[in-house]
């Protein structure tokens, strides 16, 4: 598989740009898209309703109790933070490395990152017993607390991610403004405001390029921080399974895996429902992302082995009890399925060229993402479940999320997917100018072409 050839001829370039614009403008959803959106809205609103119940009756509506005091809200938070790291991976790392096939993927990954990090921020508030006191973080915030670090890096990452999504999107919004016909007034108005008077001039492109480079350099350390600090929320305690110096690297490596999985799943879905995207999200992209996913998963496997093998070698006290529960006890079926389907199987399948075709890739990506969600569950919950305590209600030791807790958690996942869905509906999910640039089309040509289009 070869990368597409660079375009040198100007006429050819303009021809291609026209084709791009026809192919990549956002379109109205069909029946599948509308059903999907409606379903997400229903799940999201159910979650919101259950959260109002939680506000009224307190966290007693959840399955959490004094011993298992962090439940699926927290594991879901870790999941969101993890998947949001993909923004920095594809948009920033691959960009700075000048990887020649990354342009069509960058916006998909960035929108996943933004949606995930927004809901990471929201779900952590859902877990709080007193969400209305969040202002205390600013009035009485203590810099010694890892939670304060987490708030700082999550908000920084959110800001950088939104900018990194928005700046490259400016030409796209402007193009929607100028070329989408028959759209409602509010939509036109939205494009007008959001495009910030974009004129497609080479100077503007130059500024945006510069901004992207600066943001890409900035976001990489912040991305590492956000998940490392999230891991420290656990690693800074004395509890078996959390008390680990390996946790930062383990979390970050796992985050890149689930993020890459998320992007691959997104690519496959877009290709399925927008047949014209096949020209942009080609088999080459799946092949390269497949190879990347194998690399990331192997790194993750390395840190996983570190995380479990060495404590298992020593088998000391409470740590041994915890590991027994994971390896052979109550959590064993889930633990081994997650390891196999979320790590081993994807590595094996994606090592083969046939495995890196869109359909097997999609299946592997879904396995990776779902496996990653349950992996976070296994990181957060079992540690608190088995303590040498007598005469405590069973429900206190064995955590089982309640229906409302599931509804809120699923609502947050649906909310993140809704952000992505609405984005795809109203904005170009593949960046035309970046793809054109990747093919060697200069900004001057783009400028010329688009101004010519406007005159018509």
């Amino acid at each position: 598989m070869e990368e597409p050839k660079k375009i040198t001829n100007e006429a050819e370039a303009i021809q291609m740009l026209r084709q791009y614009n026809d192919d990549l403008l956002p379109r109205k959803f069909g029946i599948v898209g509308n059903t999907w959106t409606a379903l997400l809205i229903i799940i999201f609103l159910t979650g919101v309703y259950c959260y109002t119940n939680q506000l009224r009756y307190g966290l007693s509506i959840t399955g959490m109790r004094d011993f298992v005091f962090w439940g699926i809200y927290i594991s879901n938070f870790v999941f969101f933070v993890a998947i949001s790291l993909v923004g920095s991976l594809v948009t920033a790392v691959l960009y700075l490395l000048n990887i020649p096939w990354r342009a069509p993927l960058s916006r998909i990954s960035e929108v996943i990152a933004v949606a995930a990090v927004i809901f990471a921020g929201l779900i952590i508030i859902v877990d709080m017993g007193r969400p209305e006191r969040i202002v205390n973080m600013f009035l009485h915030g203590r810099i010694q607390s890892p939670i304060v670090w987490d708030v700082m890096v999550v908000t920084t990452y959110m800001t950088l991610s939104i900018l990194l999504l928005y700046f490259p999107l400016l030409p796209g919004i402007a193009f929607c403004r100028d070329n989408l016909k028959g759209i409602p007034k509010w939509q036109k108005w939205m494009y007008n405001i959001l495009s910030l008077g974009w004129k497609y001039s080479p100077e503007q492109y130059h500024i945006v390029k510069k901004a992207i480079t600066i943001l890409s350099v900035m976001i990489i350390p912040v991305a590492l921080c956000i998940h490392t600090v999230t891991s420290w929320l656990f690693a800074s305690t004395y509890r078996p399974g959390w008390d680990s110096t390996n946790f930062g690297a383990y979390f970050v490596s796992g985050a890149f895996v689930v993020g890459a999985g998320g992007v691959i799943a997104g690519m496959a879905v877009l290709r399925k429902f927008y047949p014209s995207y096949k020209t942009y999200l080609t088999d080459l992209h799946f092949d390269r992302m497949g190879k990347l996913l194998v690399l990331l998963t192997v790194v993750y496997a390395y840190f996983s082995i570190n995380e479990y093998l060495i404590p298992a070698y020593k088998m000391k006290g409470e740590e041994a009890e915890h590991l027994h529960e994971l390896f052979t006890g109550y959590y064993a079926p889930l633990f081994w399925s997650v390891q196999f389907f979320g790590m081993v199987l994807p590595i094996i399948v994606l090592l083969f060229k046939k495995g890196r075709k869109p359909i097997p890739m999609f299946i592997m990506a879904v396995l990776v993402v779902v496996g990653a969600w349950f992996k976070r569950y296994l990181i957060v919950i079992p540690t608190m479940s088995y303590l040498p305590i007598q005469e405590i209600p069973e429900a206190w030791k064995h955590y089982a999320p309640t229906f409302q807790e599931w509804a809120i958690t699923l609502g947050s996942l649906a909310g993140a997917l809704l952000i992505i869905t609405f984005f795809v509906r109203f904005f170009p999910i593949i960046s035309v100018w970046e793809v054109a640039e990747e093919r060697g089309v200069s900004h001057e040509t783009i400028y010329k072409h688009l101004n010519e289009g406007n005159e018509k």
Binding site: L59, M128, I134, N136, I147, Y238
Partner: protein, 303 residues
């Protein structure tokens, strides 16, 4: 410009004069009232055991510490509260935790003080192990609190400000002894809290839904020289409470020297390896007064 400066100088002069006169007036007034002998006298016990009568203003009253003022965060001056739990005497009567629940208005199954069945190794015997917040001198909970809602006081107590707690539960994760409880808003508890307003509590209000609570070492009693609820409720004198600075602890029947008690009976603290430096010591369960009997009743089965 010059006029303005002159004006200002005059104003300052006048101000100083006025302030000086006021201060003099206050001082005179004080001297005068002192002469009249209007101030209330209180009887106090001096360090060498004599009873003396002094002016009330000379005595620092513990009652002045009761409000939710900044004193609550500072602690009672000169005190270092400490506890010694004698494992040879415990027979799982569970009166301590019932007394605690009554005192602090919370319902089972929440227990600030738990009595656990312990067995250190296969061949050693079982014994009962009362456990509460150890008020650590190096408290991991205070270290991680994002808003300073849980704090270490000068008298050794780890307090919680339930008005400030945001309910993130990070302190519960940090505590290696799992001695913290969270008010999840259990409807029965909410109803009970409504009907039983807390009478006196220095550090925390466990009835506040969505916040963390734990054993607070009953500092409002300690400051008045009254023993905490758990100590008073225990029928076997298991729990000794006192002041490290005074080197004295008491279980209500005996008053013992702290150092002698710990040195001569092999006092130890739980999980010394964590470096948390608990303020609660245990005396090992040797030559126990009561043979270990498993609890016939299963407690706390209801959620």
């Amino acid at each position: 410009m010059e006029d303005e400066q002159k004006n200002r100088r005059n104003f300052l002069k006048f101000g100083f004069l006025a302030a000086g006169l006021t201060a003099a007036g206050v001082a005179l007034n004080k001297v005068a009232s002192g002469d009249e002998g209007a101030e209330e006298k209180v009887k106090v016990l001096t360090a060498d055991g004599r009873l003396a009568e002094v002016a009330k203003s000379k005595v620092e009253s513990s009652e002045s510490l009761s409000a939710a003022s900044k004193h609550v965060r500072q602690g009672i001056p000169g005190r270092k509260f400490i506890m010694v739990i004698d494992l040879t005497r415990c027979k799982n009567a569970r009166k301590c935790l019932e007394g605690c629940q009554k005192m602090h208005n919370f319902l089972p199954p929440v227990e600030w003080l738990k009595v656990k069945e312990m067995q250190d190794s296969e061949l050693s015997g079982k014994y009962w192990f009362p456990q509460l917040c150890y008020q650590c001198d190096n408290p991991p909970c205070c270290k991680v609190c994002p808003v300073g809602a849980t704090f270490k006081r000068s008298d050794g107590i780890v307090g919680i400000d339930n008005e400030r707690c945001i309910g993130c539960k990070f302190c519960m994760a940090a505590c290696p002894y799992s001695s913290r409880s969270f008010n999840y808003g259990n409807p029965k508890q909410v109803e009970y809290s409504k009907n039983h307003p807390l009478k006196s509590c220095h550090t925390m209000d466990p009835n506040m839904v969505g916040t963390v609570s734990k054993c607070d070492f009953c500092p409002d009693f300690g400051s008045k020289g009254i023993l905490p609820a758990c100590v008073r409720s225990c029928p076997n004198g298991v729990i000794f409470y006192g002041d490290e600075n005074e080197d004295v602890v008491s279980n209500g029947e005996q008053v013992l020297r702290l150092k002698d008690l710990l040195v001569n009976n092999g006092g130890y603290r739980q999980f010394e390896v964590f470096g948390t430096k608990p303020r609660v010591y245990y005396l090992p369960p040797v030559n126990r007064l009561f043979p270990f009997k498993p609890d016939p009743v299963e407690h706390n089965q209801e959620e």
